[in-house]
Subunit: 613 residues, 2 copies
Amino acid sequence: MIGHIHRFLIGRPLRSEEAAGERLPKWKALSIFSSDALSSIGYGPEQIVVTLVYSGLLVYGYFGYASLAVVALLAIVTLSYAQVARANPGGGGSYSIAMHNLGERWALIAAAALFADYVLTVAVSISSGTQALVSAFPELIGKEITIDLVILFGILMLVNLRGIRESSNVFVWPTYFFIGGILLMIGTGVYHALTGTAPLIAEQSLVRQQADWAVVILALRAFANGCSSMTGVEAISNGVPMFHKPEVSNAIKTTYLMSALLGIMILGISFLFMHYHLLPLENVTMMSQLAEEVFGRGWGYYYIQITTMLILYLAANTSYNGLPPLLSIMARDSYVPRYLGAKGERLGYSNGILLLSLISGVLIVVFHGNVEHLISLYAIGVFLSFTIAQASLVVKWTREREKGWMSRTAINGFGACITGIVVMIIAVTKFFHGAWLVMVFIPAMIYTFKKIHQHYLNTAEQLYLSPEDFAEHLAAGPVKSLTIVPVSGITKVLAESLRYAQSMGGDVIALHIYTDEQERIKFEEKWKNFHLGIEMHVVYSPYRSIVQPVLSYVSELEMHKSIYDYITIVIPEFEPKKWWHRFLHNQTGWILRTLLILRENVVVSTLPYHFKR
Amino acid sequence: MIGHIHRFLIGRPLRSEEAAGERLPKWKALSIFSSDALSSIGYGPEQIVVTLVYSGLLVYGYFGYASLAVVALLAIVTLSYAQVARANPGGGGSYSIAMHNLGERWALIAAAALFADYVLTVAVSISSGTQALVSAFPELIGKEITIDLVILFGILMLVNLRGIRESSNVFVWPTYFFIGGILLMIGTGVYHALTGTAPLIAEQSLVRQQADWAVVILALRAFANGCSSMTGVEAISNGVPMFHKPEVSNAIKTTYLMSALLGIMILGISFLFMHYHLLPLENVTMMSQLAEEVFGRGWGYYYIQITTMLILYLAANTSYNGLPPLLSIMARDSYVPRYLGAKGERLGYSNGILLLSLISGVLIVVFHGNVEHLISLYAIGVFLSFTIAQASLVVKWTREREKGWMSRTAINGFGACITGIVVMIIAVTKFFHGAWLVMVFIPAMIYTFKKIHQHYLNTAEQLYLSPEDFAEHLAAGPVKSLTIVPVSGITKVLAESLRYAQSMGGDVIALHIYTDEQERIKFEEKWKNFHLGIEMHVVYSPYRSIVQPVLSYVSELEMHKSIYDYITIVIPEFEPKKWWHRFLHNQTGWILRTLLILRENVVVSTLPYHFKR
């Protein structure tokens, strides 16, 4: 039954041979890799306004500058990441680059930052997508978290457990629909603005406060929030091997195209926000307000909202392409549990997919799907990994000194400095808004990674045996073993258990637990009459438990450092004919097994007995 | 940690020798055994009024007659049960009596009826107790179910798991406080009524409808509901062995005293209900209304409410003295799972206590703690067991023909007829109000009891071996065993597993699962270089799972009906140094063990390996 549901939801298992190395044309790659970056305009510009409004600054005096700064930063990061694509034609993100060039410490920092980044991408993108939906359909207000979780567990997780190949075509069109819609909206809006009668940007909104430190901090914080508009630009450089040949040049061209689109959108949207004097409202996104201003509440409006929602959900999906492979690389390097590197039956990294879904789900629930609060945690991880990736390249270029290394070093060095400064701006200006949490989380993650690594090293070391030692170990001859058979009644199962125990070669003891003196005498009498030639020990159980006296008996044998290498306990396991019969037998065998398995030098042997009726 | 909480809540384990056979003086026995019966007036008279009011009959025309009928029935049942005490000085309720005199079928009917009775006593009494509380403190309205469950699981269940002895003195005083309070209230009320100016019973309330069948049915239903006032009168006759000598005469005297008290209370309360023209209200019990009329809302009122609440909760407790011992007797007779007969570490029947609490809790939640709905299920079980107990005695008296058997037969025969008629009245008049549920439940229970009995008989038969067969079985010589050691890497654990396997005497095979051809070739090479002289089989796993190929391999061996009696699989179990290390290893061993344990002829041996760091 469960098997059938599982098969229906996840699909038949795939053989290892079915793993495919599909290549993507540029137009397809653009849509698949850029949903994360482009979807950021769904929340990025609004986050600048939110900061400025809540802090009491008049908005539009600073908003334009913050947007321009974000676009300038985008240009720098794009140039830098074109270099990343060139340096890592094999794919692999900041973690691999840093591991090769800067060493373990920086690689682990990058890994922790990426981990936070991927998880938050899912939480932020799904929450924003749902806000776009709720803005269009206010009757859904209050159901946001339920919708978030259905999208997360009911769709994204399942689709990814089924495997990415089936779904990749699904991802292509929404991105283009979205790009088309947004560009049309910007075009229409700008046309209205230029031909309309209202002033392009009203006078009073340009009023600004006198500069002082508080204003500087707030302006920088607005910029820091705005940086969330460019999360995801690194995606293409991690996916170089999936491009048609020549991979690198195709990937770089696609990166440029994506950044150009993103830049135009940020500028256009920002201009229209200012032109229409939009302000954040509860339950209605600013993008929704803008679409309503431009198109009215008609087909155009709903088109924008639905495509925005779709591309945001798709952006969440990009984390599923990113985190599980990263975890599998780290599992190979022994920094995370090994099973995170195992391919599931559909050839995806199932455990990584489950982990990502689970943590994102917890974040959504804990933060009530509130985008503004999640954003505070978001950008710092992204920019930290930007910085490390570029710093790694600087080291690489200066070490390898290939042709053109100077200009490359300059580009990446400049990029690393700028993004490093952004990290510090975010860390300082948003410290109390959640950045501190990331700054606690990243060291904690690194500590955990190292502990895990140490454990695997210890384990390997303890388990290692050279061929000589191995042969010697086996040549030491058979183990000396004492076999204990717990006895409650004299039955067919006991006969079989004793026969099995006797054929194991060591000594055999029958162990009887009694709770009543009369019963013991009777039982010992009976035992004698069977003439089995097997010694029986009896132990009194004052508290009527069977398990405790057996455990004590075994402990005592262990303590006296007996002459035996192993104490083997034969425990019969009854397999009833009907499932409900199981409830009619006590679980003593199961409990005994569970508690004894943990003992050193105690082997638990489970002997099956199948009832015929 | 869990151990400490457990110890704190339940107390230290008690040794079997600490079991006590405490005897009770009459005054103590009265209070302990009569809380169930006496507390019934907390809901019984009100249930008569409820039926009459809801069915549109003017209340007080019929109310008085219904109450008188209930008291008359009480007298008959009391006389009858005095005989039960005499017939069963060893205690034991309808189940034992019926088993000895009427045979299995009637005993099981009685058992099912008693089961329903005990469970419903808990649900009804707790719900009523909470209603008494809520009537006095209306700010608790809406929290009834929470209070019910806290009383049930937080107090009754825990106190009973600790064992009854500690708590028995706690039970003595509330009963007397309650009796005193109710008698005082009746006295005061009757005095007011006789000396007051208002007419004793107002004219218009005596108006009645013309008799027709609908009216007859409704009047009988009122009577049926009123019968809930006398639930619990059987308690003393089940507890004869706990009285001081001479047990039987003391028990009978106590029964008479209790019934007299109960009769006076029913009559007094009914009279005052009529005098004050009380009607059922939501969230306020009629007892609460009465107490307010008599005493005003002062100390007297709160005294009545609190003692009513306490005695009702105590009444719930009497089921804990009744059902677990009944289940233990039935477990001995193999009609319920055996472990229901096991004494827990505090010498109580812990499993029975847990079962009773669980089912009562479910009833309270499903019926929203609504007394009226629960009552519909209640009385039929009680009167069914009354009837069976007395019918059993009729059989016993006529069979034994001891001195005075004729008068005894007459008393019990009459009692059995009357209570049998009551059963039919309840079954018919309350069929659609829940009696049908009981009439489905009882046959279902009997079917279950029989199925369980059959299973235990089958089991015993299948497991039985005569001494000769037993010796012969063992003499058949050692089992022929094939030992399989799954191999993933060549480690210390593998060396130890192989050594253990080799010393077991049978053939040994190493089994390697591979997912990649290159890896297989390399591994086989390595294996050869170790020169172990142990055969290695390799199996390809196309879906990358380890578990599935091992299972298939074993299945194939089983299918080919190999020459081996048993296939033993040695599975290493790692015990890490720190608890969290456990999460770093996959659970393949555990899964393999769980799935293989169910196979016929497959012995699973778990070999421990303790990491040192």
